[in-house]
């Protein structure tokens, strides 16, 4: 457990390095592209367009939440999803990619996932701003419920880091992990209520309650509920889910930091 606290505190002491490297990463990634950083936003916008046509227009089946049109509802969910999807994959590659460099210098390896978490935030904020813009277009105004967004944002970062430290360590040891993770995430996309609200769907109630346990759903649904003013953290089922969510984070974090610490010295030899 001490290892876990040590790793968490490392993130805060090295915050400046994380921020600078995240900035640099972003620029370096798109250096050779003509449209540069614009791709970070064009890509998700194209995706949103397609999903809107298919699920919002072609398969139109009413408002997913009472009083909220489909488009703002979807963008509010797809923005955190796209962020979490990309960050989970990037973070799991982070150590593997940099191992040649960090094995030759003194560098806190456990901040590598954080750099990806930080770097991807730029496009997340743009997407969220787009979602809020759509809300205003549809005359949904901010309420006090928005403060919950801060809490869910922290949840999201915690989830990303816990998965990041775990996956990045395991990916170094087992290369197949990366591919498996991609498949799992593709499946989770449909299971996390990004495109349709399974709570109001015709799914059997037991299945709905099982799907609710997915930590990605917890974050996506939480961000939606807080920004669209549709529910509070302490209301059921959110309370059950909150406890499960944090226990899940804790367990992944414990195992992640334990494995990371155990194999830190051998990362170079293991590839």
């Amino acid at each position: 457990m001490n290892t876990m606290f040590k790793i968490i505190s490392d993130q805060f002491t090295n915050f400046k390095i994380i921020r600078r490297m995240a900035k640099y990463d972003d620029r370096a990634n798109y250096q050779s592209h003509y449209l540069g950083l614009a791709w970070e936003f064009l890509n998700p916008l194209i995706q949103i367009g397609i999903y809107y046509l298919v699920f919002g227009v072609a398969l139109k089946r009413g408002d997913p939440m009472p009083g909220v049109p489909y488009l703002p509802w979807m963008v509010m969910g797809i923005a955190p999803w796209l962020y979490m999807n990309k960050t989970t994959l990037d973070a799991s590659k982070s150590i593997y990619q940099q191992v040649g460099l960090v094995s030759k210098m003194k560098f806190p390896i456990n901040v590598l996932p954080s750099i990806k978490i930080m770097g991807n935030l730029y496009s997340f904020w743009t997407m969220m701003a787009f979602g809020v813009f759509l809300m205003f277009v549809n005359r949904i105004w901010p309420t006090i419920s928005w403060v919950q967004f801060i809490y869910y944002f922290i949840c999201m970062i915690a989830l990303m880091y816990a998965l990041g430290i775990f996956n990045s360590t395991v990916s170094v040891l087992v290369r197949d992990w990366q591919i498996a993770l991609q498949s799992v995430l593709r499946m989770l996309f449909y299971m996390s209520g990004v495109l349709f609200n399974f709570v109001t769907s015709n799914f059997p109630p037991v299945l709905v309650r099982l799907l609710e346990l997915n930590p990605f759903y917890y974050v996506i649904n939480g961000i939606r509920e807080s920004l669209l003013s549709k529910g509070w953290v302490w209301q059921q089922p959110n309370l059950n889910l909150t406890i499960s969510f944090w226990l899940f984070i804790f367990i992944v974090m414990i195992f992640g930091s334990y494995l990371h610490n155990k194999f830190r010295a051998n990362f170079v030899d293991l590839i």
Partner: protein
């Protein structure tokens, strides 16, 4: 306590596992079964102190643990047991140089600078002087994979000296450059020396060591064989080398193999006992000695296994997660589930909310 030292190692050991196959490695990783692999002790208990402003050389034959020591001091790899106390920032220069091959030289300068905690502004300030020092001119915008090995190591060296470390560790990095560059490096090292910085110099070349270092340690198959004034240690080392060369090839091979065997046989518990005995001989109470040695050897080491408390807390967390997950799936309330746990197996089939 004496505060003048910059680097202090006490009874440092380093163990490597010699896995035969990748599956053994994985088994060890997932803690499945006990894989009995031979252990190789690259360091068998090394203690040394390096003072502030000193230029310290490490010599020894191949595989004697020189690089292991420099990596441990620079914080790249953790020691297996023992205390390591380094005061200040270190910067290590090794042959591989640690550059990213598909980035350009300029990008590498920026990336390495950022990783060492410099700001973009600070990097821009030293950029020109790095390029000038490395003497790579227009190649700076080419990917590093197109560089010659000399250019690569020059760039690596140039970056490392320009990020202004307190302690500089040079691991055989001077052996690649040509004479002009070598002279430049020596000038730079002398400059560092005058500024009162601490330098750790690992090399095969006795002449280089003789020229630069104040004190020298001679590593010999994982042990510190001798430490002292440069002239003296180098003379002894030279004598050993020339004696060794006079032996027949067979004898030489046998000697090396015996030494390697000792490094495999080395037992950490026996080493601990011998340390305790040494303390007792000094007139320290046995219990106290045991405590001291334990502290010295394991205080800085994060244990390989999870501690009991961690296991218990993790266990409770897993049970808690299972319970709350079941409560949510079954659709009963938490209090109801606590009173009648069996209902968890009979989920409510209709919507509860």
């Amino acid at each position: 306590m004496d505060n003048t030292y910059k680097i202090k190692l006490e009874n440092v050991t380093k163990e490597y596992d010699l896995f035969k196959s990748k599956s053994d490695k994985l088994k060890n990783f997932f803690n499945i079964g006990k894989v009995d692999v031979p252990h190789f002790w690259s360091l068998k208990g090394v203690s040394l102190t390096i003072k502030k402003g000193e230029t310290f050389g490490i010599i020894g034959v191949n595989g004697s643990g020189k690089s292991t020591i420099s990596n441990i001091i620079s914080g790249i790899i953790p020691q297996t047991t023992g205390m390591v106390d380094v005061k200040g920032d270190t910067s290590i220069i090794a042959i591989g140089a640690g550059l990213k091959r598909n980035l350009t030289g300029a990008e590498n300068i920026r990336l390495k600078g950022l990783m060492q905690g410099l700001t973009i502004k600070e990097i821009d300030e030293v950029r020109d002087s790095i390029i000038d020092f490395a003497d790579i001119g227009t190649f700076i915008d080419q990917p590093v994979k197109d560089y010659s090995s000399g250019m690569r190591s020059r760039l690596g060296f140039a970056i490392a000296v320009h990020i202004n470390p307190d302690i500089m560790i040079i691991d055989e990095a001077l052996s690649v450059g040509d004479d002009t560059f070598y002279q430049k490096c020596v000038d730079k090292i002398m400059e560092f020396k005058e500024q009162g910085k601490t330098i750790l110099f690992v090399s095969h070349s006795l002449n280089q060591v003789k020229m630069i270092c104040d004190r020298v340690a001679w590593m010999h198959f994982g042990e510190l064989r001798e430490i002292g004034e440069t002239e003296e240690v180098i003379e002894h080392y030279r004598k050993f080398s020339s004696d060794f060369k006079k032996k027949t090839a067979k004898e030489r091979k046998k000697y090396q193999q015996d030494k390697k065997k000792e490094q495999i046989k080395f037992n950490i518990d026996e080493y601990r006992k011998s340390l305790i005995e040494d303390e007792v001989k000094k007139g320290i109470d046995k219990n106290q000695a045991e405590k001291d040695v334990q502290e010295r050897m394991y205080h800085q080491i994060t244990p390989d296994k999870m501690s009991l408390t961690t296991r218990i807390v993790t266990g409770i967390a897993i049970l808690g997660l299972a319970f709350f997950a079941l409560v949510n799936i079954s659709g009963h309330s938490v209090t109801n589930s606590l009173e009648h746990p069996t209902t968890l197996m009979h989920p409510v089939q209709h919507k509860v909310r």
